[in-house]
């Protein structure tokens, strides 16, 4: 149905504020959550531990694994897809990495194999979705179990535990909350995450490939009409996302120092939640890296804040759930107001 024009009602939507507009909501939420916990923590008797640099380091370190996988998930969700296999793929990558270390291969080989496993898993997802023309939800629901099974096959359903001497020092430090050099503030893994985030963000906005990802997610038919190679783009998106899941596997291994086939089960959900809290739309075409990182941080801040306030686990889970629903609801209300 046609509608009346109300140009006067939309003074905000200038080009420069575009980025702010998409990432502003999650950012305000993050500030709010941090503020509430900081105040609450200072009010309690033995408080004052929440709003500290040390805790900030902890929050970043603990959210890094989810955040790095969420970079790829953001691309997938923008392209109109979903990856339910991200969790088990992450564990599979960690297992492959651990296996190569345990068998005495040099760390560079082990890391390459781990990341390669992620890429391959993503490539398989993308190819199946494109060739079989089955919706991503179903394909990755299947591969989720397949990758879990593969992990168990390699690890003989137990943990792959390299000797401490087989794990290089840098891997220990990658996500260690105790930073070696004080000037670095964060461990290398967090800096790597930020560097990757900047790269992906720039790629989405400033490359032909990035534009094609948005086009496919927004309207696949339009993309085809415009001569965009949809299957190729989709496979590339899933493969790149697989790479980030591989990095997440590396992060997980760096923290656990073992490869555990079941350690990834259910991990895809916080990854998807980070994207959604950050403004990503499951119907495709919308999402931003800044938003996703903010989303991952929000979840970790809640978890850390609840620990400071000595609240049990289930309280954090309830709060995170409320935030997810609230984030999406608020976002939709805003969208409705902007649409004619």
């Amino acid at each position: 149905m046609t509608s009346f024009d109300t140009p006067a009602a939309l003074p905000l939507a200038q080009r420069g504020t575009q980025l702010l507009r998409t990432a502003l909501g999650p950012f305000v939420a993050l500030v709010l959550v941090v503020g509430v916990f900081a105040v609450a923590d200072n009010l309690q008797e033995d408080g004052g531990h929440f709003a500290t640099l040390k805790n900030a380091q902890n929050v970043f370190v603990h959210s890094a694994t989810v955040a790095v996988a969420a970079l790829g998930m953001t691309m997938i969700i923008i392209s109109g897809g979903i990856d339910l296999s991200a969790g088990t793929t992450m564990a599979l990558c960690a297992i492959v990495l651990a296996w190569f270390l345990r068998e005495g291969y040099p760390p560079s080989v082990a890391v390459t194999a781990g990341l390669g496993t992620g890429c391959l898993a993503g490539f398989v997802n993308g190819t199946l979705i494109s060739l079989l023309r089955v919706v991503p939800f179903i394909v990755t629901l299947g591969t989720m179990t397949i990758y879990l099974g593969l992990g168990k096959m390699i690890s003989h359903s137990t943990m792959v535990r390299p000797l401490p001497a087989q794990i290089p020092a840098w891997m220990h430090e990658l996500l260690s909350p105790r930073v070696q050099q004080e000037w670095m503030v964060f461990p290398p893994g967090v800096w790597l995450l930020l560097a990757l985030a900047v790269t992906v963000s720039a790629m989405l906005r400033y490359t032909v490939f990035g534009r094609h990802v948005f086009a496919i997610g927004s309207n696949e038919s339009t993309a085809r009409l415009c001569g965009i190679h949809v299957p190729f783009t989709r496979i590339a998106v899933y493969t790149i996302a697989g790479f980030f899941v591989g990095v997440a596997g590396l992060y997980q291994f760096a923290r656990l120092t073992i490869g555990d086939p079941t350690s990834g089960t259910g991990k895809e959900l916080p990854v998807i939640a980070a994207v959604v809290i950050g403004g990503g739309s499951l119907s495709g075409g919308r999402g931003s890296i800044v938003g996703t990182l903010t989303g991952a941080l929000i979840m970790q801040v809640i978890s850390s804040g609840c620990t400071s306030l000595k609240q049990p686990n289930h309280i954090q889970e309830i709060i995170v759930g409320v935030i997810i629903v609230a984030a999406v609801t608020i976002d939709q209300i805003r969208q409705r107001r902007l649409a004619p």
Binding site: S3, P7, A9, T207, H212, A215, N219, G227
Partner: protein, 498 residues
């Protein structure tokens, strides 16, 4: 009948600083069809929403059958006897015809639906509409759009509506279905209902309506009996200036052959289509919906699989992907702006450049500033009204969206433009601009295939017109050798002879 069934007096409504309606008065009488005419943004939608109870007016009165009418919501309005038939139908696709008609007004006893009593009511309604052939138990999904519309109308009859408002009901119908719809509206009229018919197809209005009211910029620009008004008068009221020529003529002459089809066949349609198209030529393709016109364009553009035959562009046979066809110089404007033509949530800049990002790309990285400048130029030259090149397409009016879709094929530098219903659902002013644009492009040496269900525009704009029926191209003649009637005969003719 002399007394008005619905009387609106001095109805006004503002949204912020925008006066959507100011002091609008109109009357709808029983046994009469009132045409409500106006360009997009003239206030028709707001008026509809007030009538249907979706929004309340700021000031002014409404009377229905002598009583004050101030609906508190859509349900209230329906109970008062005002039914709306929207452009997009509101049916539950998996429920049956009868269930849809009775939806929300089921006859109940002890909380159980009285199915057979309901069926009797539905049958009575369909009988009045002359459509007893519709099976009551068929899921609505399996009906054509036209039959679904009949179900909606039957729904209005079951609530004993006094006034039925049709909002552009023909925009997705074929000529044949339009005729059936008009027959139904005629029956409603004869049974004493008042009808408000919203449209910007003047031809249709002339066929169906008794009186007209023209809205422009939220006010009534004029009203009267249709019998005494010329098409020019009404268009002048709509656009607020004299439109001497809805179809601007720009001389163009056909040159060399750029596109030639040799017995092209798709999976089911088209069948065995051959023709040649020259530079500077506009070839119209007429036919009923389902005749295979859209599929023909899609096969030429390699969006649909080709079973047989060849497509040659400037003497060469391009590869079988849309990408290859774009590079060969073809450009397609889809009939379905929302579903296919445009990525609605993306910006104007993105939508115009999706098919050709190469000029702004160095090793895959885009020069967004340069792109913004070029897109800005295209928007100015096609007179696209928007705040900025970064505005989302979904916020634009239909006419401006269509200009963005056209800008894309021009930006990709297509030599052969395949335009599928490019003027559907857009206002008269923009239509005229598009006709002029097509003529100018032809004069510049582009070749255009123009698919349309609106015969008048084909006859006025095209050099040659071909008629399709059942997937076959019946015949191509110079536009001067056709009339609306002969096109229709040709489009229908095959259906009876095969």
């Amino acid at each position: 009948m002399e007394t008005a069934l619905l009387r609106m007096s001095d109805v006004s409504k503002s949204f912020g600083a925008t006066h959507a309606l100011s002091c609008v008065s109109l009357e709808a009488r029983g046994g009469e069809v009132l045409a409500l005419i106006g360009e997009n943004g003239a206030g028709k939608s707001t008026l509809m929403k007030i009538l249907s109870g979706a929004i309340a007016p700021d000031s002014g009165q409404m009377e229905l059958a002598g009583a004050r009418y101030a609906p508190k919501g859509p349900h209230d309005a329906r109970m008062a006897g005002v039914a709306m038939i929207y452009q997009e139908l509101n049916l539950a696709p998996d429920l049956s015809v009868a269930e849809n008609v009775m939806l929300g007004q089921e006859l109940r006893r002890f909380g159980l639906v009285r199915r057979s009593a309901g069926h009797t009511r539905v049958r009575q309604a369909l009988e009045l509409l002359g459509r007893t052939d519709l099976s009551l138990d068929l899921p609505v999904r399996q009906l054509s759009v036209a039959d679904q519309q009949v179900v909606e109308i039957a729904r209005a009859l079951v609530i004993e509506a006094k006034l039925i408002v049709f909002d552009e009901p023909t925009s997705s119908l074929t000529q044949h279905d339009v005729d059936n719809l008009f027959r139904v509206i005629g029956k409603l009229k004869a049974s004493g209902l008042a009808i408000i018919y919203i449209s910007h197809f003047l031809e249709e209005i002339r066929r169906i309506a008794d009186r007209y009211t023209v809205l422009r910029d939220g006010s009534v620009a004029g009203s009267g009996m249709l019998a005494g008004a010329s098409e020019g008068d009404i268009v002048a009221l709509m656009v607020g200036r004299k439109v001497d020529d809805l179809f601007p003529s720009v001389p163009h002459t056909p040159g060399k052959v750029v596109l030639s089809l040799q017995s092209l066949a798709g999976r089911t349609t088209p069948k065995d289509v051959s023709f040649e198209l020259r530079r500077g030529e506009i070839l119209g393709i007429a036919g009923l919906v389902g005749a295979g016109r859209t599929e023909l364009l899609r096969c030429v553009f390699a969006l649909d699989p080709v079973r047989n035959g060849t497509v040659r562009v400037m003497g060469i046979t391009p590869g079988g992907t849309p990408r290859a066809r774009i590079l060969a110089g073809l450009g397609l404007v889809s009939e379905d702006r929302k579903g296919e033509g445009l990525a609605q949530r993306e910006s104007i800049a993105d939508n115009i450049t999706y098919s050709r990002l190469a000029p702004y790309s160095t090793l895959g990285w885009l020069n967004l500033r340069q792109r913004r400048a070029v897109v800005g130029d295209w928007m100015r030259s096609l007179n696209v009204k928007a705040r900025s090149v970064e505005q989302n397409v979904e916020q634009l009016s239909g006419g401006n969206q269509q200009k963005v879709a056209l800008a894309r094929v021009l930006h990709q530098d297509a030599e052969v433009l395949l335009l599928d219903e490019p003027t559907r659902g857009i206002d008269v002013g923009t239509k005229s601009e598009i006709y002029r644009l097509m003529a100018v492009l032809a004069a510049e040496g582009k070749a255009i295939i123009f698919v349309s269900s609106y015969f008048t525009e084909l006859l006025s704009v095209c050099d040659r017109v071909g008629v399709m029926a059942r997937g076959r191209l019946r015949e191509i003649r110079p536009a001067g050798a056709w009339s609306s009637a002969s096109i229709l005969t040709s489009a229908l003719g095959v259906e009876t002879s095969t």
